[in-house]
């Protein structure tokens, strides 16, 4: 019995050491493999933009570790293996034979066991079971670890590109979701209560949103995303206006039906009322969804602008503020021109002007610029929207930036509406419209240029709002008067502090704007239905 115990104890003790060695070896092997793959991934991320390179590398190292542990467990040695290994020290398979016949009690088995135990005791001092990890393996592991760390810390511009791309994709995906929500809300609208034109309009809206969704799927860089986001915001504004108008139309039809059939309080009438109310509510819900999307978009834009330009403070903030103010003014001025088209035009113009001013201000100037721009844009949009009606000013102001811009816009819208109402009354609409039309046309062009220059480090796109062509005036309406040859004289002066610009011929300017406008039409950059207006406007220059 003592021999059995001695043999088993010795085998167990050796087995622990052997299995520890097996586990460490396999873990190191797994880690070496994992770290090698991780290094390749990290190295690849310095060449190609792989945003999740660190994550993938970490996963690979983890997978290597897990594989090592699993293989270590699977390769775990048995007691007979340990006994065989002990026999390798010159015991001529005595220990493994004794272990295999441990339970046998015949005379030869007993003698064999005794012989094995005796020889083992005799040779025990010289039996050194090693874990056999291997210096080369350890060195290789250390090398791989250092390589992985070095490649992960390797500075490469493409890593920034990857991060930017990731953010772009993420934001585009969010926008896509918003669009999907808006599309769902639009699809929920009960079309049976709508007229043929309204249905067509609704289909156009859906199609427009669908194209924006596809566009979001295809964005590959920040510029694309910005352009797409701006186009989307315009579409939202356009759709929101259309939905508001549609809602008013549906409600007015409902009221009219009530008036026409005052005594008809039967079942059919109730259902009709219910139906009309449902469609209006659905339209209102869709409109709210789109307005929420717009707010989210504006907040995101503001946030992005802040993140992108966060390091550029001081002069850029001033530039942003100026850009915001000018953008707001510009939006408001152009808005004034549009409001002459009637009450609806005033509402739309107010909204667009306030919103664009707020957006541009927010984008160009960060939060502060956005707020100020939004406030001013909202005020002016609201004032001039007030010429067309208090509601247009309020809506335009409400959508004119972030919270500060909204508050300012609301105040500005109310004040503007009040002022517009007080000053103009009935005349206010006409005068404001005339003044707004003329000044909006004139200052719209100058505001555009000033907005660009004022934006400095901010982001600005000055070609995405549309003026009504019949209100653009003659060539006198342009900021620079057209000469006989179409070109104005100029001279260079080195005394100024501004950057030196380029002189561009009048025809080139018109041609360039025309080209951009047609490209914008092709890209769906302008609100639906305005394409012909834009074409007519630019074709008029050729006459």
């Amino acid at each position: 019995m003592e021999e059995k115990k001695y043999l088993l104890d010795f085998i167990n003790k050796s087995l622990k050491k052997i299995n520890t060695g097996v586990m460490i070896r396999n873990i190191l092997n797994g880690l070496i493999g994992g770290l090698l793959v991780a290094s390749l991934i990290e190295g690849a991320s310095a060449i190609w933009p792989i945003y999740y390179a660190h994550l993938f590398a970490g996963i690979m190292a983890g997978v290597g570790l897990v594989c090592g542990i699993v293989i270590g467990v699977l390769k775990k040695k048995k007691k007979s293996d340990a006994a065989l290994l002990i026999d390798g020290f010159g015991l001529k398979e005595r220990v493994v034979t004794a272990y295999d016949h441990l339970e046998e009690e015949d005379i030869i088995s007993n003698m064999q066991r005794a012989d094995a135990a005796a020889r083992l005791k005799e040779m025990e001092p010289s039996i050194k079971i090693k874990m056999n990890i291997g210096v080369r393996r350890i060195l290789l592991f250390v090398c791989m670890l250092l390589l992985a760390i070095a490649t992960s810390l390797l500075p490469a511009p493409v890593k920034n590109v990857a991060a930017e791309k990731h953010e772009v994709k993420k934001e585009a995906a969010e926008k896509e979701k918003e669009i999907e929500k808006a599309v769902e809300a639009l699809e929920k609208i009960d079309r049976t209560e709508l007229t043929e034109n309204e249905r067509q309009e609704l289909s156009d809206m859906l199609e427009s949103l669908q194209s924006s969704s596809n566009e979001m799927k295809n964005v590959s860089n920040a510029q694309d995303l910005q352009s797409a986001s701006q186009r989307l915001d315009y579409k939202y504004a356009d759709i929101a206006n259309g939905l508001n108008a549609m809602q008013n139309e549906v409600e007015s039809r409902k009221e009219q039906e009530k008036k026409e059939k005052p005594d008809n309080s039967g079942k059919g009438s109730a259902s009709e009322n219910k139906g009309n109310g449902g469609a209006a509510d659905q339209i209102a819900g869709a409109s709210k969804q789109i307005e929420d999307n717009m707010k989210n978009g504006q907040q995101n834009n503001g946030g992005n602008a802040q993140a992108n330009n966060g390091g550029q403070q001081g002069g850029q903030q001033q530039g942003g503020q100026q850009g915001g103010q000018q953008g707001g003014q510009q939006g408001g001025q152009q808005q004034g021109g549009q409001q002459q088209g009637g009450q609806q035009g005033g509402q739309q113009g107010g909204q667009q002007g306030g919103q664009q001013g707020g957006q541009q201000g927010g984008q160009q100037g960060g939060q502060q610029g956005g707020q100020q721009g939004g406030q001013q844009g909202g005020q002016q949009g609201g004032q001039q929207g007030g010429q067309g009606g208090q509601q247009g000013g309020q809506q335009g102001g409400q959508q004119g930036g972030q919270q500060g811009g909204q508050q300012g816009g609301q105040q500005g819208g109310q004040q503007g509406g009040q002022q517009g109402g007080q000053q103009g009354g009935q005349q206010g609409g006409q005068q404001g419209g005339q003044q707004g039309g003329q000044q909006g046309g004139q200052q719209g062009g100058s505001g555009n240029g000033q907005g660009n220059s004022g934006s400095g480090g901010g982001m600005h796109s000055g070609h995405d709002y549309v003026s009504l062509p019949n209100q653009t005036g003659d060539d006198d309406g342009l900021f620079g008067n057209r000469q006989e040859g179409g070109n104005s004289t100029y001279q260079r002066d080195n005394n100024g502090i501004g950057w030196e610009g380029n002189h561009v011929d009048y025809d080139n300017v018109i041609g360039e704007y025309s080209d951009r406008a047609y490209q914008g039409i092709e890209n769906g950059r302008y609100p639906s239905g305005m394409e012909d207006v834009i074409k007519d406007y630019f074709s008029s220059f050729n006459n």
Binding site: S80, D81, L84, L85, D87, G88, K92, E93, R94, V96, T97, A98, Y99, D100, H101, E104, D106, I107, I108, S109, M111, Q112, D115, A116, N132
Partner: protein, 318 residues
């Protein structure tokens, strides 16, 4: 000291006694002793005059066993080996009486076995495998222990009848008797000229040989060692080995186990080691592997193939 240890000492003493009369040829002596402890037969292959007959004679003397030598010739008939029924008349009674042939002894030396016809060679088959001889309708048991030690000349193939595979398989070992070294040759010459040389003493008897054989058979073998043996035998059936036309039979695995056990016993151990396996695998397998034409054309012999298989299979895998 118990009986097993005593027997182990006696076996070791037998080897020493045989060595007194046989100079060199330690491996041959060991192989023959192993075969005897395992109850197997041995095919000795070597040139004439290398002391094969003397070896067998000495072994039979040391083990105190009866010994018969049969010189195989082309005209040797089976009855010349097994014996035959002869007519006898004793007074008024007459009849047939079985006259035992030379096969009825403990140790048979079948000298130049490949010179006899296959019919005569096959007369040994039953005795080698069943330890019995059938003449007419009566089977006669040969005395125990019974060993057949056959010799054959590897170069004189003219007018010979190579042993068929079935008969070769019944030899446990095929032992190659090599030419002695110069010192061994001097010892051989001195031995024959010096009559005062020490004579081998009788150590065991037939019963003790059988007991020793039973004891050797009780030696323990570990699973790992058994796996090693099986892998080696399976290695001879590797179809990817272009040098092997036919591999060893299952009888080869049995022979390796028995031979390895006997060797462990002679070494004073109670367990088989990889070393024992490696020692017996060559004499067990070399006549059980049939070489392909590629092996013959490439000059590859059986021992080289076995060595490759043993090396490939390995013994201890950590």
């Amino acid at each position: 000291m118990n009986d097993i240890e005593l027997m182990q000492q006696k076996i070791a003493a037998c080897e020493q006694e045989i060595g007194k009369e046989i100079i060199g040829q330690k491996d041959v002596i060991r192989s023959v002793m192993l075969a005897m402890l395992s109850g197997g037969n041995v095919l000795l292959e070597g040139m004439p005059g290398l002391g094969k007959t003397r070896l067998v004679n000495t072994i039979s003397h040391v083990l105190n066993l009866s010994f018969k030598r049969i010189q195989f010739t082309p005209d040797l008939m089976p009855g010349d080996i097994t014996g035959t029924n002869i007519m006898v008349r004793e007074g008024d009674n007459s009849g047939f009486r079985f006259e035992a042939g030379p096969i009825f002894a403990n140790i048979i030396l079948a000298d130049e076995i490949n010179r006899a016809t296959p019919k005569t060679q096959s007369a040994l088959l039953e005795a080698m495998q069943e330890h019995s001889v059938t003449v007419g309708n009566i089977s006669h048991k040969v005395p125990e222990p019974f060993f057949v030690l056959a010799t054959q000349n590897p170069i004189e193939q003219e007018g010979t009848y190579p042993l068929p595979e079935a008969q070769l398989d019944r030899f446990m070992f095929k032992v190659l008797v090599g030419f002695p070294t110069k010192d061994e040759l001097k010892g051989i010459v001195d031995l024959t000229e010096n009559r005062s040389a020490e004579k081998a003493q009788v150590i065991l008897n037939g019963d003790e040989v059988q007991i020793a054989s039973q004891m050797a058979n009780g030696v323990k073998i570990a699973d790992a060692v058994m796996d090693n043996i099986l892998n080696i035998v399976m290695g001879t059936h590797d179809s990817s080995n272009k040098y092997i036309r036919e591999g060893a039979s299952p009888r080869a695995a049995q022979a390796i186990v028995r031979g390895a056990k006997a060797r462990a016993f002679m070494e004073g151990r109670y367990n088989v080691s990889f070393e024992d396996v490696k020692a017996v695998v060559f004499p067990v397998l070399r006549h059980r592997i049939i070489l392909s034409f590629d092996a013959i054309s490439d000059g590859v012999n059986e021992d080289k193939i076995i060595s490759d298989i043993v090396q490939r299979v390995g013994s201890v895998k950590q």
